[in-house]
C-alpha cells in the first residue's frame, strides 16, 4: 500500500506555476527522494503535503485519508513530521525543549491538569522528557540537551530538527535539504542516520541538492523541473534518464 499518494497536485503563486499536475506515490518503508534543479517546486510539494500551502487543485492522500485541506497541526497528528529548509528551531529554548515540541501532539495534559499538578500529568512529563532524551541520543546530540538551541553548530541544529520531528512518532518524515551546510564527514553520518530512521519503520522523504547523498540514501526518486514531474524510478534509472540529464545540464554542482 502506498503511504502517501499525490494526485494532480497544482499550485500557482500569482501567475507563476510552482507545481503543475504532479502525481506520484510513496510506498511505505522506503527512503524516497525528490530532486530537481532550483525552482523546480520541490519545497512547494513538501509544503502542500504538510498543509503550509493550499492546493489549487488535485488531492493528497495519506494512509488512504484525504489530507488535501487539512491544517498543518492535524497533518502532524496524522503522522507526517518535517524539517525545514531554512532551519526553524525555537532558538531561545533548550535543545531538550525543542525535541519536547515534537512530543507535544502525542501528549494529552492540558492547562488545568498542569495547574492542579495531577499525577497523570507529572508522569506524562517525565516520560516525555525521557523520550526526548532518547531521540537526542539517537541523533547524537545527547550531550547538548541543556544547551540553548541557538548555540548549536549549524550541522547540529539540523540534527536537532530531525530529533524534534522523530519525537512526534511519525509514519512519514519529510527532510527538506537536511545536508544543507554540512561537510562530507557530516553528510556521511547523515546517510547513516537516514538509514537508521528507515530501520525504525519510518518512511523517509527527502529533498536534497547533494547528489551523492541522494544516490546513496534513496531507494526511489522523483525528479521535478519547472513544477512538473519529468522522471521517476530507482537511482540507477533516474541517472540514465535523458530528460533528467538535460535538466541538470548547465548546473555546476553535481557529479553522477
Amino acid at each position: 500500500m502506498s503511504l502517501l499518494r499525490i494526485e494532480n497536485a497544482t499550485r500557482y503563486f500569482g501567475g507563476l506555476m510552482a507545481v503543475g499536475d504532479v502525481s506520484f506515490s510513496v510506498p511505505e518503508g522506503l527512503v524516497f527522494g525528490l530532486i530537481g534543479p532550483n525552482g523546480a517546486g520541490k519545497t512547494t510539494v513538501f509544503n502542500l503535503i504538510t498543509g503550509n500551502y493550499r492546493l489549487d487543485s488535485g488531492k493528497i492522500f495519506f494512509r488512504g485519508e484525504d489530507i488535501s485541506r487539512m491544517p498543518t497541526h492535524r497533518v502532524v497528528q496524522r503522522g507526517i513530521a518535517r524539517t525545514f529548509q531554512n532551519i526553524r528551531l525555537f532558538s531561545g529554548m533548550t535543545v531538550l525543549e525543542n525535541v519536547l515540541a515534537g512530543r507535544h501532539c502525542r501528549m494529552k495534559a492540558g492547562p488545568i491538569a498542569a495547574m492542579l499538578r495531577l499525577p497523570s500529568q507529572r508522569i506524562e512529563e517525565r516520560r516525555a522528557a525521557a523520550r526526548a532524551m532518547a531521540e537526542l541520543l539517537f541523533v547524537g546530540l545527547a550531550g547538548h540537551a541543556g544547551n540553548l538551541a541557538k548555540n548549536l553548530s549549524y550541522g547540529n541544529q539540523r540534527l536537532l530538527e530531525i530529533a524534534r520531528a522523530l519525537a512526534a512518532d511519525p509514519a512519514l518524515i519529510i527532510l527538506d535539504e537536511p545536508a544543507g551546510g554540512m561537510n562530507d564527514y557530516e553528510t556521511t553520518a547523515l546517510v547513516e542516520l537516514i538509514s537508521k530512521i528507515r530501520n525504525r519503520g519510518i518512511t523517509v522523504m527527502l529533498i536534497e541538492h547533494d547528489m551523492s547523498l541522494v544516490m546513496r540514501a534513496c531507494e526511489r526518486i522523483v525528479v521535478l523541473e519547472h513544477g512538473k514531474k519529468i522522471a521517476e524510478g530507482t537511482p540507477g534509472e533516474v541517472q540514465a534518464d535523458p530528460a533528467v540529464i538535460e535538466a541538470y545540464l548547465g548546473s555546476d554542482d553535481e557529479e553522477f
Binding site: 503563486f13 500569482g14 509544503n47 503550509n52 500551502y53
Partner: protein, 301 residues
C-alpha cells in the same frame, strides 16, 4: 437634507485633519514598518507651539492676519519637523535592527515623554487660542450655511495633501521615498541614501501633523495635552482604512473616516462618537487588513 450636508462638510473638514495626521503615520510605517505612537503627540506639540509663537511674536499684529498665519504655519511645521527628526534619532534609530516589539514600546515611551513634557511646561488645564484671528462669517452655499473656516480648513488640508502627492510621485526624492518603502535594501543598492530618506520622512510627516495641530487650535480654539491621544488613534484608523503605507490611502481614509464619524454622531448616537473610529478600526483589520487601497501581499514560507 440640510443636516446631511452640514454633517458632510463638517465630516470632510475633520477628515482633512485626520488625513494630515494619518499621512505622518503612513509615511513612517511605509519606510520603517513602525507605528509611530508618538505621532499624535507631535500633532499636539504643533498646536501648543502655535499658541506660544502666536502669543509671543504677535505676528498677526505686525504683518497682518493672512501673512502672519502663513508665517506661523511655516514656523510650526518646520519646528515640529525638526522635533520629528530628533524623535527618530533618540528613540527609533538605535532599534533599527531590534525586534518589532522593542520599537513599539519605545514609541509608547516617547509618546509618554512628549505628552507629559507638554503638561509640565504648559500646565494640565486646557489652553485657549486667542480669538478673533480668523474670519467667522458664514457662507451661504446652495442654501446651506457653512462657516467659512470649515472650508478653509478643508482647502488647506487638500492643498497640503496634493502638494505631498505631487512631491512623492513626481520628484526624484519622492521616488526615493517610495523605493525605500518598498524595499530598503534594494533602494540602498540603487544608491539611495536611505538614512536621508528616513530623516526626510520624519520631517514631512510630523510637519503635516504639526500643521493639523495648528489648524485645530485656530479653528476649535481649545487645546489640551491629551488631545494627541484621540486624534492620533483616529488618524491611525484612517491610515489603516486607506491602506497603511499608502499615501493616497491615508488621504482617502482620513476624509472617509471624518465623514463616517460625523454621520454616525448625527444619525446614530453622539455619545458613541469616539467609539465609531474604534469599531471601524477593528472591522477593517478583521475584514480587510490591507485597507481600501492597499495591496495583498502573497507570503512565501
Amino acid at each position: 437634507m440640510e443636516q446631511f450636508f452640514t454633517q458632510l462638510t463638517n465630516g470632510l473638514a475633520v477628515g482633512g485633519i485626520y488625513a494630515l495626521i494619518a499621512l505622518g503615520y503612513t509615511m513612517v510605517y511605509g519606510v520603517l514598518k513602525l507605528i509611530n505612537f508618538a505621532h499624535g503627540d507631535l500633532f499636539t506639540i504643533g498646536a501648543y507651539l502655535g499658541l506660544t509663537l502666536l502669543a509671543s511674536l504677535a505676528l498677526t499684529d505686525s504683518v497682518g492676519a493672512v501673512a502672519g498665519l502663513l508665517l506661523l504655519a511655516v514656523m510650526v511645521m518646520g519646528l515640529v519637523g525638526v522635533i520629528g527628526i530628533l524623535l527618530d534619532r533618540a528613540a527609533y534609530k538605535p532599534l533599527r535592527t531590534s525586534p518589532r516589539l522593542s520599537a513599539v514600546v519605545s514609541a509608547l515611551g516617547a509618546s509618554i515623554v512628549f505628552s507629559n513634557t507638554i503638561m509640565l511646561v504648559y500646565g494640565p488645564r486646557p489652553r485657549v487660542y486667542p480669538q478673533g484671528l480668523l474670519p467667522t462669517h458664514v457662507l451661504d452655499v446652495f442654501g446651506l450655511s457653512i462657516p467659512v473656516m470649515r472650508l478653509v480648513i478643508l482647502a488647506t488640508s487638500l492643498v497640503l495633501m496634493i502638494g505631498l502627492y505631487i512631491f512623492i510621485q513626481k520628484t526624484r526624492t519622492g521616488t526615493a521615498i517610495r523605493a525605500a518603502a518598498i524595499d530598503q535594501d534594494a533602494a540602498r543598492l540603487m544608491g539611495i541614501n536611505v538614512d536621508r530618506v528616513i530623516m526626510l520622512v520624519f520631517f514631512i510627516g510630523p510637519a503635516l501633523g504639526g500643521a493639523a495641530g495648528l489648524m485645530v487650535g485656530l479653528h476649535y480654539g481649545q487645546i489640551s495635552f491629551t488631545m494627541g491621544w484621540l486624534y492620533g488613534l483616529k488618524a491611525f484608523t484612517a491610515a489603516i482604512l486607506g491602506g497603511i503605507g499608502n499615501i493616497p490611502g491615508a488621504m482617502v481614509g482620513g476624509l472617509l473616516l471624518g465623514v463616517i464619524e460625523s454621520m454616525g454622531a448625527a444619525y446614530i448616537s453622539n455619545a458613541w462618537k469616539d467609539a465609531i473610529a474604534f469599531f471601524v478600526l477593528i472591522l477593517i483589520l478583521i475584514v480587510r487588513p490591507t485597507g481600501l487601497l492597499g495591496e495583498r501581499v502573497a507570503e512565501k514560507i
